[in-house]
Every structure is written in C-alpha cells, then in structure tokens.
C-alpha cells in the first residue's frame, strides 16, 4: 500500500504518529490504523488495508457459479450464510427459477440465526475492548449453541456453504426445529443479562454516549448501512425495502435511532437480536413441506446481461453485481461490501476524540477486515 508522504510543518511537529498496527487486540482483523495524535486527542486516522487481499473478484472470473459461493463464505466470515444467499439469489433471479417455499423459509431462519450469532460475537468483543472482560465469555458461550445447530445441519460452524443455486445442499436435520426452539427460549432469558452487565452500566454510558456521532446525511453520503447507518436514522434495511426469501411474510420492526453515537449503534444491535428472535419464532413452526433443492443443469450458464442482488448481512447491505457474457464463468463479479463503506467513515467520526474513544468507536462500527479487502 502506498505511503502518504508525511510533510512536517512547525504546527504539525506537535503531532506524533502512533501505529495501531496490523496485529492489535482491538482492531479485529488485520487492519492498520495510522493515528495522528496531539496529546491524547486524535487528529486524523489513515486506515491501511490490503493485508488480507486475496483477489476474490479476479478469482471469480475463472470459477463457475456454484464455486463462487465458497469464496463468499470467506469474505465476511461471520455472516457466511447470508453471503452465500446473496449469490444464490442472484443466480436464481437471472435464470428466473421459482424457488419452493420450504427453501425460502429455511434460508430465512438460517440468516436470522447467523445475524444473532454475529451480534453475539460483536457484543463479546465490544465489551472486551472496553475492559469488561467477562462479556467475552458470556457472548461466546451463547454463540456456541448456535454454532452447534449449524454444525449439525450444515456440517460447518462458521464457514457453512449451505446454500447452492437452486436451493440447499442438504435437508435440515430432524433435530433442527427442536434445537432452534430450545435456543430461542434460552436466549430470551439470557439477553436481559447482557443488558444488566453492560447496557445499564454508568461507566459504559460515560464511555459511549455522545462519542463518535454520525449524522444521517453523512451516513447516506458515505454509504454506511446496517445497524451503524440505522442508528443514525438512515432507513436502509434491505429486508424491508426489497424483501427477498421469506421476509415478505414476517412481521418485524426496523430499528431506527436518531442520535448516531456509539451508544445508539450498540442498542441498535441489541434490539436487532430481539427482532431476529421474533422472526425465527414466526417461521420455525410452519416450515412448509417440499423439496430442498430444484434440479439444475450440471453446468450453470447465466444469460447475457447484468444482475444485481442486495441482501442484509449483519453489518449492512451486501451487493453482488454479476456481469455475464453467457459463459459458465462470469465476466465480472463485484461485491459491494458493507464493511468497506463503514470503514471510510472512521476518520470522519473519530477525529477530535481520545485514543480510548477510538477503540470504542472502532468496536461499534463492527468491522470484519476480509470483507474490506476481499
């Protein structure tokens, strides 16, 4: 990555640079932040990315469509299921296939479970970054239950690859419904514990209220979506605006706040966990019968043209843009990743605050670096 030439003028000699390097306990993933400080105050932040750039978009140009799905797993690896769903939906839309109801409902349930476990991991790491180390263990303890459900049905805990164009790889395990229902019952009792530990804590309020404000106009201009954007008042939930899979038949609220500070971003994600549980409860009892996959041709070729599909991952709007020229490999695939836009706003909102606040703001943006680098 090209280094910016640092020119020191007499005024800038007061500033000094600190490197929150690629290896750091609070930048989750390989992100390098070059922070220019004056005393304790942050003047500017330059993020340096590219440490985990794998050339996914270039690789996709030489892979077939079912193979692309396995690459999307590894981009935003915490919302792996939702990434897979994006590519599958795009391919199915291009081929104009009708997907049976059973597949749609199962995909929705899996997506919501993914969202819950992503927010659980976020909560665990956020608490840990702020110093409440116990939060880490509680969050991960509960996430294990979801990962066990994934492992039983999909075969993998984090990298699931459960979707494929035309449906699912295998049918759900017979225990699936019971385990999900038990989990919901358990987690409804546990989630208030999270509030007791962190949300209601005075120290926590002092660390997060009023810190890192993002206005609605800036959120739209920077393209910040997901809970981060919704906490600033930007209504961007793809599940509401362009419903896909089974989202058009479930009732849920879109969580919107107006303050746009770290605390609202925090509460937005906690509320989203409640909403996800509501969605799952509406669907889990009535999974329609039917096939778990539609018969597809062995070699999938998309018609010539451009196809764009948006989904709502745990972090924001993921867009999959496929330009096809009629072959079995796409001509160009572009992944519009939510974390890429979310990172660009870090310099704007963290300038003027202290180093400790930078850690809190970075944690509340909930960045996953391989999604930025692709």
């Amino acid at each position: 990555m090209e280094e910016k030439e640092i020119i020191t003028t007499p005024d800038e000699l007061q500033e000094y640079f600190i490197n929150m390097g690629p290896q750091h306990p609070s930048t989750h993933g390989v992100l390098r932040l070059l922070v220019s400080l004056r005393g304790e105050m942050v003047k500017s932040i330059q993020p340096h990315v590219g440490y985990i750039h794998s050339g996914i978009e270039k690789m996709c140009e030489s892979l077939t469509y079912p193979q692309i799905i396995h690459l999307t797993d590894r981009m935003d690896y915490i919302s792996a299921h939702i990434n897979n769903e994006a590519v599958c939906l795009n391919v199915e839309k291009a081929l104009e296939i009708d997907i049976p109801e059973r597949i749609k409902v199962i995909r929705t349930i899996m997506s919501e479970l993914t969202r819950i476990q992503s927010h659980q991991l976020w909560w665990a790491c956020f608490g840990m970054d702020l110093g409440g180390l116990t939060c880490f263990f509680y969050g991960l303890r509960d996430r294990e239950k979801i990962l066990d459900i994934f492992e039983e049905t999909c075969g993998g805990r984090m990298i699931v690859s459960y979707n494929c164009p035309g449906g699912l790889m295998y049918d759900i395990h017979p225990n699936f419904q019971k385990r999900v229902k038990d989990f919901i019952k358990y987690f409804r009792k546990i989630l208030p514990e999270y509030d007791q530990l962190l949300t209601g804590n005075v120290i926590f309020h002092e660390r997060t209220k009023g810190i890192g404000k993002l206005t609605r106009e800036d959120a739209i201009s920077f393209g910040v979506t997901g809970p981060t954007g919704r906490a600033s008042g930007f209504s961007c939930d793809v599940r509401k605006h362009e419903p896909y899979s089974a989202y058009d038949r479930v009732q849920f609220k879109e969580i919107l706040f107006t303050e746009g500070d770290t605390f609202s971003r925090y509460v937005a994600r906690i509320e989203e966990m409640w909403e996800s549980m509501n969605i799952i409860e509406q669907l889990i009892d009535n999974i329609p019968e039917g096939p778990f996959a539609v018969k597809m041709k062995p070699i999938i070729k998309l018609p010539e043209g451009e196809f764009y599909q948006r989904v709502e991952t745990a972090r924001g709007e993921l867009g999959v843009y496929i330009i096809s020229d009629g072959n079995k490999n796409p001509y160009r695939v572009k992944f519009r990743s939510p974390n890429f836009s979310n990172l660009s706003v870090l310099n704007h909102i963290a300038s003027g605050f202290k180093i400790a606040d930078l850690v809190a703001i970075g944690g509340s943006l909930d960045l996953i670096i391989p999604d930025i680098d692709r």
């Binding site: 590219g50 800036d218 739209i220």
Partner: protein, 151 residues
C-alpha cells in the same frame, strides 16, 4: 419515477445519453466529459435526488475501461445505473465524484488500484490494497506467471 419517466428526465439533462432499460434497472451510458455534470444534476435536482451511491465498480470491457455507478434515491426510492467508458488504456482519466458522494473516495481508490483508472480532483488518489510495483490485476490482459496459474 419509474423507468420511462427516469429515461425522459435524464434525456432532458444530459448530452447524448445512451439509455437502455435493463431487466432490473435503467442503464445510462454517457461520455466521460459529461459524467460529472450529470452526476451532480442527478444528486441535486429536486425530482431526482440520487443521494446514495451504493456501488462503484470498475470494469475492463476488453478494448475499453469503464466505471459503473449504481445510484439510489432515499427520498423516492428509484435506482439508476450510470456507466461511462474510455478507450485510453495507457492513461485512463475520469472525473472523480468524491465531492458529490463521499463514499466514492475509497471506491475510486480501489478502482485505481485494481484497474489503473485515474480520477481527476480526487483528494487522495493512492493505491489501496497493493503496493506501487504491482500491475493492475483486474485488467483482462494482466499476466502474472508467479501468482496466477493458467492452463
């Protein structure tokens, strides 16, 4: 506005746009010289208000290099796709839209990094992922014997 109304509106504000109704969105292709003006009009005009640039992709058409902008309005909820292309492969130069949509800053850096397209008036045009000695990987004529295995 639906696709036909959008088409008429854009014809009225742009010079020689090529408008095509794609399966999903309305696709507008303009010459690079008219891109910045059109983009600014699309953002500021009362009937359009395309304030959300949600995808900026660079593409190598084989002979030309191009950039594709996906725009949406949060007010009216209509979407349009803006395309432009240049045939200068040695020194492609386009206008930057960073002062219209701030998200373009990082996205244009990525396009410069992977395809080599430079943007005028960009506040900080540096490579994003790769270092200076690397070529431009997303180009179709990119050859790398060490890292890419071809049959």
């Amino acid at each position: 506005m639906d696709k036909t109304q959008l088409g008429d509106f854009i014809r009225s504000i742009a010079q020689n746009p090529e408008i095509k109704e794609g399966k999903q969105y309305l696709e507008v292709t303009v010459h690079p010289s008219g891109l910045y003006q059109l983009a600014r009009q699309l953002k500021e005009k009362e009937e359009a208000q395309f304030d959300f640039l949600f995808c900026l992709s660079g593409i190598d058409y084989g002979a030309d290099l191009g950039v594709i902008y996906h725009l949406r309005s949060t007010v009216y909820d209509h979407t349009v796709v803006l395309k432009t292309r240049t045939s200068d492969r040695q020194n492609p130069l386009l206008d930057s839209v960073t002062d219209i949509w701030q998200t373009a800053e990082f996205h244009e850096r990525e396009v410069y990094d992977l395809l080599g397209i430079k943007f005028k008036n960009h506040p900080d045009l540096r490579r994003l992922f790769l270092d200076n000695s690397w070529g431009f990987p997303l180009r179709k004529d990119y050859v790398d014997d060490v890292n890419i295995v071809t049959k």
